[in-house]
Amino acid sequence: MAGFVTRREFLNLVGAVGGTSAALRAGSALGLLPVTKTAKALDLFALGTNSKKVAILGGGLSGLTVAYELGKRGYECTILEASHRCGGRVFTVRNGDLIDEIGNRHYCEFDDDPHMYFNGGAARIPSFHNNLLAYCKELDVELEVFVGENNNAYFQDDAFLGGKPVRIKDYKTNVRGFLAEMLAKSMSEQEMNEPFTELEAENLLSIIHSFGDLRGGGEYTGSSRSGYKTGGYTTHGVQKDIIEFRDLLKSRLGGRTMTASEGEQGPPLFQAKDGMDNIIAGFLRVVGQEVKYRAMVSAINVTNNGVEITYDQDGVRHSLNVDYCFSCIPTHLITGLDHNFPADYVKAMKYVRRGDAYKAAFQAKERFWEKEDIYGGITRMNNRSSSIWYPSGGIHKNKGVILAAYNFQGGLYHTNMTQEERIEGHIKDGEKVHSNYRSLVEKPVTIAWHRMNHMLGCAARWNRSFSGWTAEEQLMFDTLQKPVNGRHYVIGDQITVHAAWMESAIQSAHWAMEDLDKRVRAELA
């Protein structure tokens, strides 16, 4: 296929791989969005005068959910947290906070101001993550809008227009225009008319025209949607030049940019005001007294009628005997503990791969993006740093914190660098978008989840093929989801099919507690 492709040839190519109906099926079968349902109050049995002890291993969101819900029903909970803080990957860094990366321990030196924070882990709440939102309401955690989609942010790719950054609206408007023009032209063909009624065809054409802002004849001749070159208020606007279609196709960033604000990353999104860890703080207001910090589990022994936990705290080895145990310790760390788990359970834990997500942030000495009409949102770059996120809060204040890099996958590239190399890389990448970037940013933090103490990984990866889960993988998942002896549960987003979201962590905790509840009701009936 070297050489030129005409528009007709392009349409034929589309047809050859299945055409519209195949595309429609593909869209609905992607299954990227889990079914949403309204959050419901958990119907769990209240113990009353009965007594049950529970150990919760790890103060991540799923562990805190269990402590909160079982605590309400009269269970006596103890949370053993290996590190100095709760929240796991719900991690907000502010002035003075420790970033406990093994081999690269550093402290956040941002100015001490409520809006000067960085969400190093969880950063977005979709409006349909009902259980999470319900807890935010119940625990009085103030939310605000997170601006993810911002068409005024930039699109930058060295392969596109000589590396010159353009506004996302320029890229999107032109791509939509040309795509729509191709579709509109093809609509006049006899074969395309066949499957539609006259009304359907008319409406389809109307949609195509408005999708691409086409002129009457189905021509794309530019659009005011990306703003004017000059004027537009007191003088008439002068339309911007079109970016040639062939130029738009030079960038591999196009597909990612066109879909970046869809699904779970589409508006409206929320965040906890002044830092996502305010959700953790909300739980801790209720269950904080139950947490033992720097308490590192060394052994888990499941017996017929309970679980014996061994842990180290303050240089002393302790034991804790409970009726039930819920563990949100990452599976790849559980495998390093002394335990008596069944072989198939251990096999499943050994199979799960640990994610390697990486994020970095800078304090900006001034809010330079606001001078470029950018308020929140995400600049997309086709380089290793990948993104710049502008803060949704703190508008028009003197300074702000920006995300300087985000690799959800492929994070080992930066993880394997020294702190200095990471920072230099992000500055060089950012300079391609904001020419004075180097002089405008300071006080970096980097969060390499693969090396964060007591976690050593980001979102768990169950399936090894892009085409989906194998039957064997599903079997291992089912094995690990079920409790050992009805006593030991693995929880967290790691034991869902939708890792990396707070909602998943909560739903895994709910699944485990509902399973426990059946057993407790049967026992006490």
Binding site: A82, H84, G96, D97, L98, I102, G103, N104, H106, Y107, E109, R294, M296, V297, S298, A299, D312, D314, G315, V316, R317, P330, T331, H332, L333, I334, T335, G336, L337, D338, M349, K350, R354, L412, N416, T418, H450, R451, N453, H454, L456
Partner: protein
């Protein structure tokens, strides 16, 4: 309380280091538990993050490896994935902190490691006669030759290391004398089957507790 005695000097020592380089957070003291995050409870190794056991291994060998990592003689080849993760950790260590860590490791109880690979141990035995020259007939190691014990180590770790030696991911740095020797010796193993077989034989050697 032996453990307490070891931890306190480490806390103090690292606190001093922090004061030099960072505005340390008041509420956060350093602790020495980095080893067990990766290397598992009481340093018995963790398959989940591919970190080998430290408990029961010779202190002279652990010392040399920590020093090699620190000096950039080990854990620098980008394909040595776990070594690359270990290197920056060791780079921060002082001679004193290495000595403290070795004391701490020495306090951990050794328990036999789980057998996770199944090869032809009898075929591996023939290969092992070459290994035995330095590592000892029982895989007990020989400090005089600078050769560590193999018996008792996690078998999956030995597999990874032999592969790394063979591929040039380990033992490829000038100055890593012992590593370079081993990289040459690893060439006597032709393929992965040979590696699995020889380590299956090492698994039969066991280790006195």
């Amino acid at each position: 309380m032996n453990r307490m005695r070891l931890i306190i000097p480490l806390v103090f020592m690292f606190s001093l280091q922090l004061m030099k380089s960072n505005a340390a957070e008041e509420n956060e003291s350093y602790d020495d538990r980095y080893c067990t995050t990766c290397h598992g409870a009481d340093g018995r190794g963790n398959y989940g993050v591919q970190a080998p056991r430290l408990a029961g291994m010779e202190d002279w060998y652990l010392k040399r490896q920590l020093e090699s990592y620190r000096a950039g003689l080990r854990g620098v080849h980008p394909r040595d994935i776990e070594g690359v993760a270990m290197q920056p950790m060791a780079a921060k260590l002082t001679d004193e902190s290495i000595a403290e860590i070795l004391d701490w490791v020495g306090s951990w109880e050794y328990k036999p490691s789980e057998v996770t690979i199944q090869g032809d141990a009898m075929a591996g035995r023939e290969f092992y006669s070459v290994c035995a020259t330095c590592h000892g007939a029982e895989g007990e190691g020989n400090q005089g030759f600078g050769a560590p014990a193999l018996a008792g180590q996690n078998d999956w770790y030995l597999v990874t290391q032999l592969k790394n030696f063979l591929a040039g991911y380990r033992g490829n740095q000038p100055g890593d004398t012992y590593g370079q020797q081993m990289a040459i010796m690893a060439q006597t193993l032709a393929n992965e089957d040979d590696i699995i077989n020889v380590i299956s034989y090492i698994n039969t050697l066991g280790k006195g507790i």
